[in-house]
Amino acid sequence: MDPKSAGTEKPLPLMEGTTAAFYGHCRNRELRFQRCTGCGRWRHVPRLCCSHCGSWDWEWARSSGRGKVFTWTVVARPMHPAFAGDAPYAPAIIELEEGVRMVSWVVDCPPEELATGMPVAVIFEDVTDEVTLPRFRRA
């Protein structure tokens, strides 16, 4: 393998701009998404403008953190060396009550028990001193 990719560090978000804002709220144990103050629509991933009404204004509105599994996969063979110890792991798309969807993991749930529509609620995991990732467990 290319030595440059042989690292065991997991990839992290680039903490700048709206990405830093999103993960900064996770640091504070709050799941917040952008909500357009022009038309009131929630959105994720963060954007600079609202694709519906064109407004540049938004607030970071707090989500209930409750949602359901929209779909999932089970990664049997990781494609990044840092995730080798996690396999098999089950990334899922979570649909929050507010209507936005996001990628996360459902923890404390064996992959074979994952199902579309399963109710979940957010928890937070500090993965480094700077970065906290939102994860979900069965609700």
Binding site: M1, D2, K4, S5, K10, P11, L12, P13, L14, T19, R43, H44, V45, S51, F70, T71, W72, T73, V74, V75, A76, R77, P78, M79, H80, F83, D86, Y89, P91, I93, V100, R101, M102, V103, S104, W105, P111, T116, V127, V131, L133
Partner: protein, 390 residues
């Protein structure tokens, strides 16, 4: 008739051998792109210096790297579309507009990589997210959750399709098996000598559920290229021209995020296909074969649906029963595709379509091949479609 009026055509094709050898040279792709380009220019009966337009593949060698080595000393037009695997089809449309408008006369479209002995896709996307469409979103919101490779992103959509429409693993397998049957008739295919049964497909290890090993394309070293000019100029060249009858591109919305789309099955092709068919003045029944960009098996089913060859949800049944196999009603990926010939960025799909339409496809020749389509698919669903005719 339309803006293109079928006046642009492919007049030369070229490729290198496609290889999977761990002691391959790796490194920069330039040598492969040059070898394939030389072959395509020779095939057209042109000299290198006749080329005056070069449309490189995004992330590979830039136009001047190619021009200085080929001795192209009067380069008038260059451009690259940032749409990943949809790039070759986008570049063909771009070339057609360039030669149609007089911006250039003979346009070279090269591609190639050391996809096996060099950096693998899974390394490229993590080390250099800007090299992919949707890179910043993937870097910030997919990678931290262990979704670092295309096989994982697209497995979500395959799983959802299975849940919603009852698509079965055997139907994904039907794509892999059909394409292997095509590859077995192609001397240049990496899997030429390796038969694949549905049983061995199902017995292979899971990579990212529901994708098993043989649902995945075959990363390889190799290059391919083609040359585009006008029909008028083609009359003076030796090869039988293959005409571009219709062409369109599209992107799902939002293009950089597969997760939050209102319609998660939407592809660029969903809206683009009708435009291309209208431009060509043909219908689905007129298509004699289809070279469909196939990073993974399900993406073939999905593109067939989104192009309207069958209804959404019926793609699994569509690919069963031999329809897409050699001799079927709609042979798909007659060279074996990325799954069983080699992953040469979809450039090999164009080379194969031209061989079919020239009647030069040997034992895998589709009978009476008059019209073929070639699709391109980039992350996360960028689409291009070219309708080619002889």
């Amino acid at each position: 008739m339309n803006a293109l009026e079928g006046r642009a055509c492919i007049v030369g094709i070229g490729d290198t051998p496609y290889l999977r050898e761990s002691d391959g040279p790796g490194g920069r792709s330039l040598a492969l792109e040059l070898r394939a380009s030389e072959a395509a220019i020779r095939d057209a009966g042109l000299r290198n210096r006749d080329i005056d337009g070069i449309l490189p593949f995004y992330g590979l060698s830039i136009a001047e790297d190619l021009a200085v080595n080929l001795g192209v000393d009067d380069l008038r037009y260059q451009a690259t579309s940032h749409v990943g695997g949809a790039g070759p089809g986008a570049s063909l449309a771009n070339a057609a507009m360039a030669v149609g408008s007089g911006m250039a006369s003979y346009v070279l479209i090269p591609g190639g990589w050391y996809g096996f002995s060099g950096r693998r896709v899974r390394q490229i996307v993590v080390q250099d997210p800007s090299a992919m469409s949707g890179g910043a979103n993937a870097r910030d919101f997919y990678f931290p959750f262990g979704l670092t490779a295309p096989v994982q992103w697209f497995s979500f959509i395959a799983r959802l399709h299975m849940d919603r429409y009852g698509t079965r693993p055997e139907q994904l397998g039907a794509v892999a098996v059909a394409q292997r049957k095509h590859a077995r008739r192609n001397p240049g295919a990496l899997m030429r000598d390796k038969p694949l049964s549905l049983e061995s497909y199902l017995a292979a290890p899971v990579i990212a559920d529901p994708y098993r090993l043989f649902d995945c394309s075959l990363e390889a070293d190799g290059g391919a290229a083609f040359v585009v000019t006008t029909l008028e100029r083609a009359r003076d060249l030796r090869a039988q021209p293959v005409r571009l009858l219709g062409s369109a591109q599209g992107q799902p919305f939002p293009a950089d995020d597969i997760v939050t789309r209102e319609d998660v099955f939407e592809l660029g092709l969903t809206r683009a296909t009708a435009r291309a068919f209208r431009m060509a003045g043909i219908g689905h029944d007129d298509v004699d074969f289809a070279e469909i960009y196939d990073p993974f098996s399900f993406q073939v089913i999905q593109q067939l649906e989104e192009m309207g060859f069958c209804k959404r949800g019926e793609g699994g049944a569509f690919v069963e029963g031999g329809r897409i196999e050699p001799g079927g009603a709609l042979p798909v990926n007659t060279h074996g595709g990325l799954l069983s010939e080699a992953h040469i960025l979809g450039m090999n799909h164009f080379v194969e379509a031209v061989r079919q339409l020239r009647g030069e496809a040997g034992e895998r020749q589709v009978k009476n091949a008059d019209i073929g389509i070639v699709t391109g698919f980039g992350d996360f669903g960028d689409g291009s479609i070219a309708i080619l005719g002889r």
